[in-house]
Assembly symmetry: C2
Homo-oligomer: 182 residues x 2
């Protein structure tokens, strides 16, 4: 086999694997393919470059590169003389993994905590009232306990994300050859 072909095949295998697994980041296989292609492309790319490389519409390239950028998987780049927007893959994948949690999970945790605290306070207020039905009292006690459990759990998750963001996780699980970027 020709050397160029071998390299191409080796790349394609990786790109396709990324495409098939990027759903864990909430992205589509196309966005994964885009990311993979960009990873092996050693220069920043414009939207038109991506259209060229992947044979998809510029609109698609625009929306998915934005999705990739929102998750901090790619970033804007600058090159003198080039007017078009340029994008490249972020080179710190460890940080990108952490960013996933900062962005997607943190938001979810926060929404849960808001809802739980609101429901909890409503039920506690109701519980304090007098002359409640026995059946209702029991339901209240059970529901409050469940909500407290949820609150503790999401507060734990929140601290877990803190531990990622603060890089404390690297003490527990040290990366090999990890050099903090800039």
């Amino acid at each position: 086999m020709e050397g160029k072909e071998t390299v191409e095949k080796a790349r394609e295998r990786i790109i396709e694997t990324i495409a098939q697994n990027i759903h864990l980041y909430g992205l589509t296989p196309s966005a994964g393919r885009q990311f993979g292609m960009m990873y092996f492309h050693n220069e920043p790319l414009t939207l038109d470059d991506m259209t060229e490389e992947l044979g998809m519409s510029k609109t698609s390239m625009s929306t998915s590169v934005r999705a990739l950028a929102d998750l901090k998987l790619v970033e804007r780049a600058w090159k003198r003389g080039v007017r078009k927007d340029l994008y490249q893959v972020k080179d710190d994948w460890y940080q990108s993994f952490i960013d996933l949690f900062s962005i997607k999970w943190r938001r979810s945790i926060s929404l849960h905590l808001v809802a739980v605290r609101k429901s909890l306070s409503e039920l506690e207020k109701l519980q304090a009232e007098e002359g409640l039905d026995e059946q209702l009292k029991e339901t209240l006690a059970i529901d409050i306990e469940k909500l407290e459990y949820m609150r503790d759990y999401f507060e734990w998750l929140d601290r877990l994300v803190d531990a990622f963001e603060d890089h404390d996780i690297f003490n527990l699980v040290p990366p090999k050859n990890y050099l903090k970027q800039k």
Copy 2:
């Protein structure tokens, strides 16, 4: 407002929040609603109970409860005299979070590592050949470096999942009031 209504509203808020965020587990809002409903239902439920509660087809209940069970969010339960399958929400959410990684992320990590190792060994083999084009040599060196980076990263992720599974993560981020279930 009537007490019963207050409780119902408090529950609905939580259930809807879960439904809107369960996509992080790769599940649909419907499955999230099902999970939420089951959480506040203090008895194990049959598929027919769920159909009743959620007004959806039994087929849907069957497929989504299976999806929930695959992620270890719900489990089968037994009650004497009941012939139908019974399901209930698992009561250890910390463990469920860990299971998410064991199940979804571990699989993805493994697929990536297989692909990376295969591509890496192909390129290394090619690199060992004689009389290679200068341009190709350079490409090879760059791609090999990228693949090595990926390998290190996914091996780190793998160890991270180990740290979850082994509960070492609880040393770094201790849960409040966490009692290991059985």
